[in-house]
């Protein structure tokens, strides 16, 4: 599989279809998978793909310094493909502005499981493939078990739970920086006229920051967990994301990342949307 991947990357660079391949490499010394930017065909031999390669590399597509390298080819796992779909849907990327090298493995994160290239070449084809693999598998009862457990608690218990979780936040913004969909030129936490979110890592600032972060991703989050993986304080950001993704699905019959031509959930409406909560 890895030979196919390297071959594909080499061809793309040699034929000029891509100026840079964004994929995974290994850190010197201990082999930890790290993002790798390959611009020379000979360097494609450094590309790897293993079940440990779970970073969402779509993060780099909207970065100006990466865009300056030229047309990218992206080694894209299923969640990465979903993120690309949302970026295209939101007009941050042109679907034909990049090449996708779809990859997947049976059980991401589990060493030793089989890895393969995806067959599709276009975003639409890859979306369909990813939908076949993931749709219906992400917001299952099992995946939502912790969400449901929290929902079963009282409001005060939930507040106490999040108060303790948010208290650890040091506002390093690793969650935001790792998120492929946090591409705002200026994040709301950096706006100070007025100061919507205090920049201080204290209870209020942290609570508001996490409310904003979660809400800005509602209907957009592709559930890749890049934020939660990046968090050095192990704040369970995936819980917030999954809760809102489930609400979007249940209320608007919408799941992000499967159709880059669809209107985004939070930027569209149906006159028939339910409104039982409105008095």
């Amino acid at each position: 599989m890895i030979d196919q991947l390297r071959q594909r990357a080499r061809e793309l660079l040699e034929t000029g279809q891509a100026a840079v391949v964004i994929g995974y490499g290994e850190r010197a010394g201990d082999g930890r998978p790290v993002p790798l930017f390959v611009t020379q065909p000979a360097e494609t031999a450094r590309l790897v793909f293993t079940p440990a390669c779970v970073d969402n590399l779509a993060r780099y597509l909207t970065r100006k310094d990466v865009q300056a390298l030229g047309r990218p080819a992206l080694v894209a796992t299923p969640p990465t493909i979903k993120a690309v779909a949302v970026l295209v849907q939101e007009n941050q990327l042109a679907a034909d502005g990049l090449v996708l090298i779809g990859v997947c493995c049976e059980a991401p994160g589990t060493a030793g499981t089989a890895c393969a290239l995806l067959a599709g070449a276009t975003l639409a084809e890859l979306e369909a493939e990813v939908a076949g693999r993931l749709r219906g598998q992400e917001l299952t009862e099992a995946a939502l078990a912790r969400v449901a457990a929290l929902e079963a608690q009282s409001a005060d218990e939930r507040w106490a739970f999040w108060e303790a979780e948010f208290a650890r936040c040091i506002r390093c913004y690793a969650c935001r920086q790792a998120c492929p969909l946090c591409y705002c030129e200026q994040c709301i936490v950096e706006k100070n006229q007025p100061q919507w979110v205090p920049s201080s890592p204290h209870p209020l600032g942290n609570t508001l920051f996490h409310f904003y972060r979660a809400f800005h991703l509602a209907g957009r989050c592709v559930l890749c967990d890049a934020c939660a993986e990046a968090c050095p304080m192990d704040i369970p950001l995936g819980l917030l994301n999954r809760k809102l993704a489930r609400e979007v699905r249940d209320n608007f019959a919408y799941e992000a990342g499967y159709d880059h031509t669809a209107p985004p959930a939070m930027a569209s409406y149906r006159s028939s949307d339910q409104e039982a909560f409105i008095r």
């Binding site: 409001a155 508001l208 209907g219 609400e247 979007v248 209320n251 006159s271 949307d273 339910q274």
Partner: protein, 160 residues
């Protein structure tokens, strides 16, 4: 937001709890409805401070959070009935936002009764006055929003 600053004045410790409620309303329907309630001499609790915006589509969830941060115990958001939006569809977009936002607040442990949503048309002065009455009673029953105010105070130490 002078109104919010006003609303933020801390109550005397032993006073009867009077909830502070911030209302964000649209200019075309609910504000006119509230106006009608006034000109019709309908009574409703004075606990509410009304902030008028062009359209419910303009009411960012951040406004609601800011109101709590500035001392509100409850928030009411109201605009034109579906189909009646002055800008055709602002309230439909708002409705989606509210649907998700109130779930977020609920999941974070904020009682849903602290943030209430309604449609009040320009003709519904009575509905407005009754709505304010009900929201005020709901929030009164919940008591001061101490959990949120505590985290706000803990940051700046503005307990006096």
């Amino acid at each position: 937001m002078a109104v919010l600053d006003q609303a933020a004045g801390a109550p005397a410790p032993d006073a009867v709890f009077e909830p502070r409620i911030t209302a964000f309303v649209c200019n075309w329907c609910t504000y006119a409805g509230a106006d009608l309630a006034g000109t019709s001499r309908l009574k409703y609790p004075a606990n509410i401070r009304v902030i008028k915006l062009t359209c419910t589509g303009r009411i960012a969830p951040g406004f609601i959070l800011k109101a709590f941060q500035e001392g509100a115990d409850g928030v009411l958001v109201s605009g034109c009935h579906p189909g009646d939006c002055h800008y055709t569809s602002g309230n439909y977009y708002a409705r989606r936002r509210w649907t998700i936002f109130r779930q977020l607040l609920d999941f974070a442990g904020i009682d849903s009764r602290r943030v209430q949503f309604s449609w009040v048309s320009a003709a519904e002065g009575r509905k407005w006055s009754e709505l304010v009455g009900r929201v005020t009673e709901d929030v009164r029953a919940l008591g001061p929003f101490s959990a949120f105010h505590a985290i706000t105070r803990s940051c700046t130490g503005s307990e006096e």
